[in-house]
């Protein structure tokens, strides 16, 4: 008897059904998430009220009581206007050019503008799959854009080597020799030789290009300022720190090359244990000690070197975290297939390691972007310092709120954008769970 009650055979298979209506749809979502218990309900109502109140206050300040046109602070302060005043957009409007370009020559604003447009055009295909042209703009952004940007923003750079006949002859011979070496290396399947050869030629080509640029007027880096300076600093530091960080991270793990390993560890640990401000001061005062006499870098270059090295050390540790998460089997499979070190890193290990640490990489970028404000300490006129100077000018006394909120929102938009892009990238690169 009891045996019969256990045995069971399904004779008809159950059909697949859609989920019940109560498990989907907005009403269900609100019920489940906002009013699941009475205290959640109270919380929801209170928070909704707070959010609405805040939104109204912001709207009132930024739009309703805002002053859109002003010639000086008198148009924007309650005691002169006679009624409550919100944001003073007239101040931002009047000072907009300074905020964007600092002391840069107004007649040449087109130069940073063009640089920015080129940057966007070049980056979009690299950042988004849907926009075609990555294969073209990617290498251009790496090998050409930095020099074009330099030539546009700064103008020609004086190269003493290229001012003497001997210098010109030597560089031209080197360039031709490099080409020869490069092609020979390619013919003999010797990538090291090919890279060295083409590298030499490329370096000399870059030198010539920088020396003449587009024949524009020179605008000294002391004229760089505002948001443009912030962008230059962060773009360079980001552009340098990712590749340099990867190299440092790989070097730190190179157990079979103890000298390189020690150098990398030493560099990373030294830079990481010093505050950025100190690194900036060191770059300003110590860099000249290491350079041969006569070579003089300006303030901006020193800040760029300091920030790039600083962020590279952090980036190296971020990347190392990713490398450590890659199972040993991946390295072994790559080895067993005959991939050499470069290939296995580039094709197998780094793509996975970097994907794992995308959130951390972007955090580092965001931190870096905000840390560019520290260069004001060594006298560079970044966005924040420009704004601070504006509100201390007699014309715009007392405009701090509007100024700080404006500058703050620029940082907010940029950082939030980076953060969203990181989420997009993570989703895009998701390829099912790992096994």
């Amino acid at each position: 008897m009891s045996k019969e009650s256990i045995a069971y055979v399904r004779t008809e298979l159950h059909p697949t059904l859609p989920p019940p209506a109560s498990a989907v749809g907005p009403v269900h979502w609100i019920r489940m998430n906002l009013f699941s218990t009475w205290y959640y309900g109270v919380g929801t109502v209170v928070s909704a009220y707070l959010i609405a109140w805040l939104a109204w206050e912001i709207f009132d300040w930024a739009i309703l009581t805002a002053v859109w046109h002003a010639k000086d602070f008198q148009d924007c302060l309650e005691r002169y206007v006679g009624e409550p005043v919100g944001a003073c957009w007239g101040f931002v409007d009047a000072r907009f050019d300074q905020f964007m370009y600092g002391p840069y020559d107004p007649a040449s604003y087109w130069r940073p503008n063009l640089t920015g447009i080129l940057l966007i055009i070049g980056l979009l295909p690299v950042m988004f799959d849907k926009i075609p042209g990555r294969k073209i703009t990617g290498p251009l952004m790496i090998f050409v854009f930095p020099w074009v940007a330099t030539a546009l923003l700064h103008g020609p750079i004086e190269m003493t080597t290229l001012q003497s006949t001997i210098g010109i002859v030597i560089t031209l011979v080197l360039a031709v020799g490099g080409l020869f070496l490069g092609f020979r290396g390619r013919q003999q399947y010797n990538p090291g030789q090919a890279m060295l050869g083409f590298g030499i030629t490329y370096a000399i080509a870059v030198m010539y290009f920088l020396a003449f640029g587009f024949g524009l007027d020179v605008i000294g880096t002391n004229k760089f300022g505002g948001f443009m300076l912030t962008l230059v600093l962060s773009a360079v530091a980001i552009g340098v720190s990712l590749p340099l960080g990867i190299v440092l991270a790989l070097g730190r793990r190179a157990n079979n090359m103890p000298l390189i390993q020690m150098l990398c560890i030493g560099f990373i640990e030294l830079i990481r244990s010093v505050p950025l401000i100190t690194v900036l001061f060191m770059a300003q005062f110590m860099l000249p000690l290491f350079l041969p006499e006569g070579v003089d870098f300006d303030n901006l270059i020193r800040a760029l070197v300091g920030m790039s090295l600083f962020s590279s050390a952090y980036m190296a540790e971020v990347v190392r975290g990713g490398l450590q998460a890659i199972p040993k089997g991946q390295f072994e499979a790559a080895d067993a297939l005959g991939l050499n070190y470069n290939m296995s890193m580039r094709l197998v290990v780094l793509p996975q390691a970097l994907k794992i640490v995308i959130p951390n990489i972007v955090s580092t970028f965001i931190g870096l972007f905000k840390d560019t404000t520290l260069v004001s300490i060594i006298g560079l006129l970044d966005l924040l310092l420009t704004m601070k100077q504006s509100v201390t000018s007699t014309q715009w006394l007392g405009m701090e709120h509007t100024g700080y909120i404006f500058v703050g929102s620029i940082y907010l938009v940029c950082c939030f954008g980076m953060s969203r892009y990181s989420i997009y990238l993570e989703k895009k690169l998701h390829t099912g769970h790992k096994r």
Binding site: A333, A336, L337, G338, N340, L347, T431, G432, K434, R435
Partner: protein, 257 residues
């Protein structure tokens, strides 16, 4: 005499792997002791032995995933030394299949298969893809080519791993417990692929405890214990008439439980 397996006709006099008085240490620990082994082209060798006996270590020495400290290893006549050229040449000839598949999770199945041919052998992409599809058909999963490894079952992943190795046209295939991470119902699909490969005349060294496979495919079974080769024989003899006490004990443990 048992009737000869069809695959036995593939065995030649040519030496594929020659290991001579090879020793290996992990620090102070003497893992492999005096390994001597000659494998002829077309041979299918099954290696078994208790856990920790050094089976993995031995076959991993053959493609230099592990370094040996004493003795010589020749693969295809090339001596395995610290010379990177030799190591690269040997790795191009030797395919390896791992217990945990080790597919590249960020690449599709097809990309997994064409990666090494394109970068190591410099095969044009189109040609490499055609070859890859051929091997994926051979392991019976051409329809999964565009999926990522994470979307496949264990058995399917292991068959992709086999196809990936075959894409390099290796002369020798090493298998390190290819089925021991698989659920029972997936083991046979992987074994079938390996049997198919054996019948095509591939030289195979296979660490496995699938004794049915050993009987069916191997022309030689090697038993290892304590880092040494204890016994080797034709499968029938090995299973029916083991000589060493350790072999008898091992066989009794894995065959009757």
């Amino acid at each position: 005499m048992a009737e000869a397996k069809t695959a036995d006709m593939n065995i030649t006099d040519e030496v594929a792997i020659h290991i001579n008085a090879m020793h290996k240490w992990y620090g102070e620990f003497h893992v492999l002791k005096d390994i001597n082994l000659t494998v002829h082209r077309g041979e299918r060798i099954v290696i078994c032995g208790p856990s920790g006996s050094g089976k993995s270590t031995m076959i991993r020495c053959i493609n230099r995933l592990e370094e040996h400290q004493q003795g010589d290893i020749f693969v295809d006549g090339i001596e395995l030394t610290n010379d990177l050229k030799n190591i690269d040449a040997i790795r191009r000839e030797v395919g390896m299949v791992f217990q945990h598949f080790n597919l590249f999770p960020h690449l599709t199945v097809l990309e997994n298969c064409v990666l090494a041919p394109i970068w190591v052998r410099k095969t044009p992409r189109k040609e490499a893809e055609e070859a890859a599809m051929h091997f994926l058909e051979r392991v019976k999963i051409p329809e999964q080519a565009m999926k990522y490894p994470g979307q496949l079952s264990g058995g399917q992943q292991q068959r992709v791993a086999i196809a990936r190795s075959l894409c390099m046209n290796p002369a020798i295939m090493l298998f390190d417990e290819p089925t021991s991470a698989l659920d029972p119902e997936m083991i046979s699909e992987v074994l079938d692929t390996m049997i198919d490969l054996a019948e095509s005349g591939m030289t195979m060294l296979c660490v496995t405890h699938e004794m049915g496979f050993a009987r069916k495919v191997a022309n030689r079974v090697i038993f290892m214990d304590g880092g040494q080769i204890i016994e080797q024989n034709e499968p029938e003899e090995f299973f029916n008439n083991p000589q060493s006490e350790r072999t008898k004990l091992f066989l009794s443990q894995i065959l009757h439980h």
